[in-house]
């Protein structure tokens, strides 16, 4: 199962310290980890649990950001500015990688963070380590493509914040409740038709 899906920044932001990342969208799937896997050690109320969950996502975003910057530094390719309309090209040039996050750092169980970085944003799928990473990679690419297209992310707009329900719908089709689904192109087309009406509202 996928634990969470996150979209966050990987470029330096003036308002934040270097190395800090702004989480623009996040969706945690399933019931709260702290309740069901903490062995009831932590007696937290709902508010504290949400705070913990958000902080964990922030930690993940920071880790991925440093992984992305190290990767880009090593490969010697600085992020290329692509214009709106060149989504396919942006996706082709995107950097991808996978990061292992140990038990406790920050989730109670070990997770693998698959990331895909386009310019200054990164899409991350956090999944359980025994998950089918080939499938997860394909799903991540698919999600990124749809997000780039439907939210016009290569431009200067803020649809990622203002139309985030589109990402919700996307996730409910392609990653329902965190389940990675084996979709061949026909199934995917069927889902896309289903979503198309929604996306153009």
């Amino acid at each position: 199962m996928v634990v969470a899906f996150v979209i966050h920044t990987v470029c330096p932001i003036g308002a934040l310290a270097p190395g800090e990342s702004r989480v623009l969208y996040s969706r945690v799937f399933g019931p709260d980890e702290a309740l069901f896997q903490g062995g009831q050690r932590l007696q937290l109320n709902a508010e504290e649990r949400r705070l913990l969950s958000v902080e964990k996502l922030a930690v993940v975003a920071r880790q991925v950001q440093s992984a992305v910057s190290l990767h880009r530094e090593a490969s010697g390719h600085p992020p290329v500015e692509t214009l709106p309309g060149e989504e396919a090209l942006a996706l082709q040039d995107a950097d991808t990688g996978v990061l292992r996050l140990r038990c406790g750092d920050p989730y109670l169980q070990e997770v693998s963070a698959l990331w895909l970085a386009v310019n200054c944003l990164s899409f991350v799928i956090l999944c359980e380590p025994h998950e089918n990473l080939l499938l997860a990679e394909g799903t991540l690419r698919n999600l990124a493509r749809h997000c780039l297209e439907h939210l016009h992310m290569l431009g200067q707009g803020s649809e990622i914040l203002l139309k985030s329900s589109r990402v919700d719908v996307l996730l409910s089709r392609l990653l329902p409740h965190g389940q990675l689904v084996f979709l061949n192109h026909r199934f995917a087309q069927s889902l896309e038709k289903d979503m198309a009406a929604y996306m153009h509202k």
């Binding site: 199962m1 932001i13 702004r22 623009l24 799937f29 399933g30 019931p31 709260d32 309740l35 069901f36 896997q37 709902a46 508010e47 949400r50 705070l51 922030a58 992984a67 190290l70 990767h71 530094e73 090593a74 010697g76 991808t96 990688g97 996978v98 292992r100 693998s112 200054c120 944003l121 380590p129 089918n132 990473l133 080939l134 499938l135 394909g138 431009g155 200067q156 707009g157 803020s158 914040l161 139309k163 985030s164 329900s165 919700d168 409910s172 329902p176 409740h177 965190g178 389940q179 990675l180 689904v181 084996f182 979709l183 061949n184 026909r186 199934f187 069927s190 289903d194 929604y198 509202k201």
Partner: protein
């Protein structure tokens, strides 16, 4: 991409004033009370979502707004469902909200409402209730009315519950679902679904003759429906087929984890029942007679077998080709877990896996698919009495050598090794032999895989590989540079005028240096620890020393060295440790000149030198010749001062009869003379221009070492005193050429005076400068001499406390504590 506009939106959402917020809430409540929900409602909801999401501190919504949002969850408009679900998940639930909601919409639970219930479940009971409700919905199927989208998502929700709280599913639920899964996986319709108009979830057969489903290469399908079958549209049970397969592996792992035939002592009764059932023999008799779990296993086997065969077809679209690979991985994993559960399957599954391996082993683009195959061989190869060498040679020999730059392969291969480490160490001799190959992953992308190597490296340290491994670790930045050169020399044309880094690429292509690079790129250990012309190689690679990838690699080496040394003391005997020590001395001058690399490695060497000698003081006597040679070279004071200082420290400390009886007076004297000569040389003349002054710590360490040696052989004392007084005289003039800082000079001279004074009393000097072990490691109450005063003191305190306590309390006599 990320603009100032976005940043300011977030800021606004976070810093919205309370009054404005309350106004916004009331306006929204009014909007939601209306019958129609137009653009304004949607926009306001979206804004509410942003406000709630933007801050990590949870906002509490007014109860009325909360209730309106709850009712929106069952709205027919999906956008409203989505938005209300998103907001509700980020806010605190109202008390008893879950129960209220559950009782209301029974079979009208849609996927977004279910998401809220899942996210806000407080306990296993909540999840159980949700689960029961969903499964009830599975049975009472016909639901006229709006498309609810729930039925297909039942399985993902159940899977989510399974992940977090498997106990929430009762035995009945498990049986019911097992039966359903069998139906969907094996008996889904083989004709195409209705037209594309209705979005695919609910169809009925239209008047047209239904077409059969097709394979990915376009041919008509001849067998049951799987995820690799296509059609114009899909029926409901075909969708369920897809979702069933997507969760099949997890289902099998969770509920069938008891190996067939043995009753594991778990405290879960349902699992025990399951295991009793699986003792029933499961040969290929009619599968209808099998209990549900066994039947599911059989169907899973058939499904996976079909997938493997379907993956051989050439898909017309690239995304389908990728899906075929993912399906292969999943199928092999499922087959593996089926065989683990019920070993009688191995004989039926193995031919299929073997054929798959044969088909794919020559195609590197299927490398990631072959990893589950390797896992299968590791788990069941012995049972099937199959020779697995070809698998390991491919996975450990070829993959790292040619695919080191694939981050996903690296991650999965290293994970495979980590999880199966014990088994691999036992059954796969190629693992240790191919360590140079595995280190290529580290050389290429250190930050991503260093974590895995922290776990794997100790297993690679054996008495046979220790020395070669040490050399290889020290040369890791060189390997990194070489891999880059290999990569570049393939990309760059033979003659590239004006190209950067021409010199190193040329060197790489030069036949006379070929051997050097080939040594670094070797895949197997055992050819030799290192090469003679290492210094040449280092020179050739010097321009690569500041390439980012090389620098990143160099930064991880010190950590790895520490792990190496920690592991090597466990597996090596004194002889081998002596050789390790020699390697550190030798290599301290043979390192790639990467920024800070040499300093860091010297620091590691110094620390580990002390550790090694503390553990085995006799090492100093064993290697005294080489250590003295190192200590006698004055140039080492200047260009390897950290290591030098520690070598002198070690000599001073451990060259003594109390540590090893082989230590003769002659040895002490010769060591003394070596150190004396060096100290004299560095303090009597100015350093060469460009080398800088010797570190004050080196000088003080030399002085202390000389004093320690003299205290063990008293006829050396006059010589030390003479040397130290000469030092004092020379420096009495003020500044000296060999020390720039006045404070440092003061410390040096003070130490000199103290040592002189101490050595005037040889007996005292001997015990001060060579403290016996029991002084430096106090044993407190374990030491009979020290114990008595401690015991007396403790008794006194106890009795005094007791006496004063008895004074203050009335009558009741307290029992005496006896010691």
């Amino acid at each position: 991409m990320y603009s100032n506009g976005t940043e300011s939106l977030i800021k606004q959402a976070r810093e919205i004033q309370e009054s404005e917020l309350q106004k916004f809430y009331s306006r929204l409540i009014k909007l939601l009370q209306g019958k129609e929900h137009g653009h304004e409602t949607i926009d306001s909801l979206q804004r509410l979502r942003l406000i709630v999401f933007a801050t990590k501190y949870t906002r509490t919504l007014p109860p009325e707004l909360h209730k309106s949002l709850l009712s929106l969850l069952s709205s027919p408009v999906e956008q409203l469902q989505v938005l209300s679900s998103a907001v509700l998940r980020e806010t605190l639930p109202l008390a008893a909200q879950a129960e209220n909601y559950n009782q209301d919409g029974n079979s009208q639970l849609n996927t977004h409402a279910a998401a809220v219930l899942l996210a806000q479940a407080q306990s296993g009971d909540d999840l159980s209730a949700l689960c029961t409700q969903l499964l009830r919905g599975l049975d009472n199927r016909p639901s006229e009315g709006p498309t609810t989208h729930l039925l297909p998502h039942t399985l993902p929700i159940v899977n989510s519950i399974l992940t977090h709280s498997p106990e929430s599913l009762t035995e009945d639920n498990v049986t019911l679902l097992s039966k359903k899964l069998v139906d969907w996986l094996r008996y889904a319709s083989t004709t195409q679904g209705g037209g594309a108009s209705s979005g695919g979830f609910f169809t009925g057969s239209r008047s047209r003759q239904p077409l059969p489903i097709a394979e990915l290469d376009g041919t008509v399908s001849g067998d049951f429906f799987t995820v690799l079958c296509v059609g114009q549209g899909f029926t409901e049970d075909q969708w369920m087929n897809v979702y069933s397969f997507s969760m099949l592996r997890h289902w099998l792992l969770t509920f069938h984890s008891v190996p067939g035939g043995t009753i594991a002592d778990t405290d879960d009764r349902s699992e025990m029942d399951g295991s009793v059932v699986s003792v029933v023999s499961v040969t290929s008799s009619s599968s209808r007679l099998l209990p549900p779990k066994e039947r599911l296993r059989e169907k899973a086997f058939q499904y996976c077998q079909r997938l493997v065969e379907q993956s051989d077809r050439k898909a017309q679209k690239k995304t389908d080709g990728d899906l075929q690979k993912a399906c292969l991985v999943e199928a092999v994993c499922i087959l593996d877990s089926v065989c683990v559960e019920d070993p009688s399957f191995v004989y039926r599954v193995f031919p299929c896996i073997k054929a798959l391996f044969g088909r794919l082993s020559s195609d590197l683009s299927f490398a990631r698919v072959l990893l589950p195959v390797a896992q299968f061989y590791l788990n069941h190869g012995e049972m099937a009495a199959v020779d697995c060498d070809c698998v390991w040679n491919l996975v450990l020999g070829r993959f790292p050598a040619e695919l080191f730059n694939d981050p996903f392969l690296a991650h999965e291969l290293l994970r495979f090794l980590r999880l199966n480490l014990e088994n691999v160490q036992l059954r796969v001799p190629q693992y240790i032999r191919h360590f140079p190959n595995l280190l290529k992953f580290l050389a290429w992308d250190s930050p991503a895989v260093i974590d895995d190597f922290v776990d794997l490296l100790p297993s690679m340290v054996t008495s046979g590989t220790a020395l070669e491994l040490l050399h290889t670790l020290l040369d890791l930045p060189c390997l990194s540079a070489t891999l880059l050169l290999q990569h570049r020399s393939m990309c760059l044309p033979i003659s590239d005028p004006g190209g950067r880094n021409l010199a190193s690429v040329n060197a790489f292509r030069n036949p006379s240096f070929r051997g050097l690079f080939l040594f670094l790129l070797r895949g197997e250990a055992g050819a030799g620890d290192t090469i003679d012309r290492l210094s040449t190689l280092l020179e050739l690679l010097s321009e690569a020393a500041d390439w980012p990838r090389v620098v990143q690699c160099a930064q991880t080496v010190p950590i790895l060295l520490h792990i190496f040394f920690n592991a090597v003391v466990n597996v090596a005997d004194r002889t081998l440790l002596g050789q390790v020590l020699l390697v550190t001395l030798e290599r301290s001058s043979l390192l790639l000149n990467s920024p800070k690399y040499i300093t860091e490695i010297h620091r590691v060497f110094s620390r580990q030198l002390i550790n090694l000698c503390k553990l085995h003081p006799s090492l100093v006597i064993d290697q005294s010749h080489e250590l003295l040679e190192f200590a006698g070279a004055t140039s080492n004071v200047y260009n390897k001062q950290e290591v030098y200082t520690h070598v002198v420290l070690v000599l001073g400390e451990y060259l003594s009869v109390s540590y090893d009886s082989r230590c003769s007076t002659k040895l002490i004297t010769s060591c003394f003379e070596t150190l004396e000569a060096v100290l004299f040389e560095i303090t009597s003349s100015a350093p060469h221009p460009g080398t800088g002054c010797p570190a004050p710590r080196a000088i003080t360490t030399l002085m202390s070492a000389l004093a320690k040696l003299a205290s063990r052989s008293h006829d050396l004392i006059p010589r030390v005193s003479l040397l130290l007084s000469k030092l004092r005289n020379v420096s009495s003039g003020g500044s000296v050429s060999w020390c720039e800082d006045d404070e440092d000079l003061d410390s040096v001279l003070t130490l000199g005076e103290e040592l002189c004074a101490l050595l005037k009393m040889p007996g005292v000097a001997q015990s001060v400068l060579n403290p016996p072990a029991h002084v430096t490691a106090p044993r407190w109450h374990q030491d009979t001499n020290v114990a008595m005063p401690l015991q007396l003191r403790a008794l006194t305190r106890l009795t005094q406390a007791h006496a004063s306590h008895a004074q203050h309390t009335p009558t009741s006599p307290s029992p005496h504590t006896s010691t």
